[in-house]
């Protein structure tokens, strides 16, 4: 029981972690990415279509990654170069992306909502011999798809890159103060565009994890607000890779718990789905209040 719960919590976390890490990078560069949902659904579609065309899941994942990067750049350019408000552009971008995908599905493929791709290859589940039978550890790390292992690698790598590489320092400087960074000669817009590409690509991989990882088909509602939960997660984790990922696992655990409780009755899925968002409001409120009083003290 607990093994099954943990295993599905981890599986449900993988798309969230990927999207939230992308969003966290973007946020560190100074932009709140509301369009994660759009990048995710595009990644899920591209992953499914290209895996079906080639019969190879890796090609599907790569196609999702590339499409997500382009999508991330496109959205980001409107924010950086055309000075569009990040919130409005993000919300509008989500509407456009879901509109285009829904339209194309119906107009050219003649399907409504769900796309069964013939010849689609799902991602393999890597069973680790020996570990698989260890009670809790086996449920946590055995039988997971490659994107799970990518997350495991990405979390420390991104944390290190943000802290110690030239790219990371410049990125954080741009996010902390754009005008100061620009006066030092940093190309702040280009840095932000780069972060936007990373955000789009990672979120799209999160989408691939949905379509190729768990179900093996594409549904236009399959992201089901996960882009916004990812947003909640990087706010919760203060845009640091490890805390952000842990927040995702927490939300993934809620999700898994909710699915289990639904079958046995008792808890209401709608109420549980609000928990991540309530958590973000509480965290924002607490940090905001603390900052307010700290700021007041330094001033007086």
């Amino acid at each position: 029981m607990i093994d099954l719960l943990l295993a599905s919590a981890i599986t449900l976390s993988v798309p969230l972690v990927l999207a939230a890490l992308g969003g966290a990078i973007h946020r560190r560069a100074g932009i709140v990415n509301i369009g994660l949902e759009a990048h995710m659904i595009l990644g899920a579609l591209m992953g499914a279509v290209f895996s079906g065309l080639t019969g190879n899941w890796a090609v599907g994942a790569l196609a999702g990654l590339v499409a997500g990067g382009i999508s991330g750049l496109l959205m980001n350019v409107i924010i950086t170069r055309l000075k569009g408000n990040e919130i409005i552009v993000g919300l509008g971008y989500n509407i456009v992306m879901f509109g285009v995908i829904g339209y194309v599905l119906r107009a050219t493929l003649g399907v409504s909502g769900t796309l069964q791709v013939p010849g689609l290859e799902r991602m393999p589940k890597l069973v680790i011999p020996g570990v698989a039978d260890v009670p809790i550890l086996g449920a946590l790390i055995s039988g997971k798809d490659p994107l799970f292992w990518l997350c495991i690698v990405l979390i420390p790598v991104l944390a290190w890159m943000l802290r110690s590489t030239r790219w990371g320092v410049r990125l954080r400087a741009t996010g902390a103060s754009e005008s100061a960074s620009a006066s030092l000669g940093l190309r702040t817009l280009a840095i932000r565009d780069g972060a936007g590409i990373v955000a789009g690509a990672l979120a799209a991989l999160g989408g691939v994890a949905l379509s190729l990882g768990t179900v093996g088909l594409f549904n236009e509602n399959m992201t089901a607000g996960r882009g916004y939960v990812a947003l909640a997660a990087f706010y919760f984790g203060r845009s640091k890779p490890l805390p952000t990922a842990l927040a995702c696992v927490l939300f993934g655990f809620f999700d898994a718990l909710q699915i289990r409780l639904q079958t046995t009755g008792g808890f209401n899925a709608d109420i549980i789905s609000t928990l991540p968002y309530i958590a973000v409001v509480v965290v924002l409120a607490l940090t905001g209040i603390r900052q307010h009083y700290r700021g007041a003290r330094t001033l007086s």
Partner: protein
């Protein structure tokens, strides 16, 4: 994050034209709206045309049919106005808050909860006297809409907690709570999908031209729009709204009631959203069901930004989006055109309504020219 403002509602400079006659002012406003709204709409039409072309449709033909379906006959105009009503409310709500520089995304949540509360109260109004049976659910929905905005408003006004994210989060919280409340307490008997009972007949807002769906809700919205215009122009707090919106630090220094302005802006937007949701329930759908709001709150944001908070612009923008919604729903019946193309058009308008089309090189050239004139 708090040190760098990452979002700023574009605020039009305060107009000082109270001496000019009303007719002249209306024309000026219309021209200004055309200038700011023309390019986003044009881009949206081009993007839509590309999508249509790629999928083998003739854009000119499709756009012609959309216009025909929106304004072709009196009954179609009626349908357009019915679709205009909810987004006119949300447009006013968004403009109200943005005027004070407060960037709420939470009108959607207020609209949804207002609609649910109005549906619940309205379904119990069968034995109430006529006027009261409409006013009670309307009032309940309005209060509910304001309550949704209360927490973000207090956090913003007293501790400067970023209102964009909190209001966005409250949309999802409200959606979850509404779904839970309907499932657990208000589920209509014998219904497969999760929706409440229909409101009592004497709680419905009457239709303006009976077979059509446009209701008295449109009149309420227009009254609100006029009230918004007068309030911004002539009231003291309305003046402070504009001042805080265009120069927040200056306003603090001048001792304006910034905290009152922030609270009023956020809660006021919630209240207006709540009225909108109630009017949508009582005037059009007569009950609350899943998918009650077709992103009306977000469309309202696009309208407010396109119009740059100008009342006449809000009306024009709401009719434009209402026409798209009404025409999109019927066009797919005649030609095999998925209704999602409307989302593409609306979303594109929304994105480019906030984009600034001053290309760096042009801007530099212009600056240089100004410089030369000065010297």
């Amino acid at each position: 994050m708090t040190t760098t403002p990452t979002h700023e509602a574009p605020v039009a400079p305060a107009q000082t034209e109270s001496g000019t006659p009303l007719g002249r002012r209306v024309i000026d406003a219309a021209l200004r709206v055309l200038k700011t709204a023309g390019l986003p709409v044009l881009i949206a039409l081009v993007v839509g045309a590309i999508v249509l072309l790629v999928t083998g449709n003739d854009p000119v033909d499709v756009y012609g049919r959309l216009v025909e379906e929106a304004f072709g006959t009196p009954s179609r105009i009626n349908a357009t106005l019915a679709a205009t009503t909810p987004i006119l409310f949300t447009g006013i709500a968004a403009a109200f808050a943005y005027r004070a520089g407060v960037f709420t995304v939470g009108v959607e949540g207020s609209f949804v909860l207002g609609g649910l509360v109005a549906a619940v109260i309205g379904s119990g109004m069968a034995d109430m006297p006529p006027v009261l049976s409409v006013l009670l659910p309307l009032l309940g929905g309005t209060v509910a809409g304001g309550l949704v905005a209360l927490v973000p408003a207090v956090l913003r006004a007293f501790w400067r907690v970023d209102e964009v994210v909190t209001t966005l989060m409250f949309n999802f919280i409200v959606a979850g709570l509404a779904g839970w409340a309907v499932q657990s307490f208000f589920l209509a008997k014998g219904q497969a999908n999760s929706s409440t009972e229909y409101v009592a007949e004497n709680a419905e807002l009457p239709a303006l031209a009976p077979p059509g769906q446009t209701s008295v809700g449109l009149v309420i919205a227009l009254v609100l729009l006029v009230a918004y215009a007068l309030w911004m122009r002539y009231s003291t707090l309305g003046f402070e709204f504009r001042a805080v919106g265009s120069a927040p630090r200056f306003s603090v220094a001048q001792g304006l009631r910034v905290r009152t302005v922030l609270l009023t802006a956020l809660i006021g937007a919630g209240l207006i959203g709540g009225v909108g949701g109630s009017a949508h329930t009582l005037g059009l759908v007569h009950r609350y069901s899943e998918g009650f709001s077709a992103d009306f709150g977000f469309t309202g944001i696009a309208i407010a930004l396109l119009a740059r908070f100008n009342p006449i612009g809000i009306l024009v923008g709401a009719i434009l989006f209402g026409a798209l919604n009404a025409a999109g729903a019927t066009v797919q019946l005649f030609i095999d055109l998925p209704v999602q193309i409307i989302d593409v058009l609306q979303g594109t308008v929304m994105i480019f309504a906030v984009a600034v089309f001053a290309f760096p090189r042009l801007r530099r050239l212009r600056a240089a020219r100004v410089e030369r004139k000065r010297s």
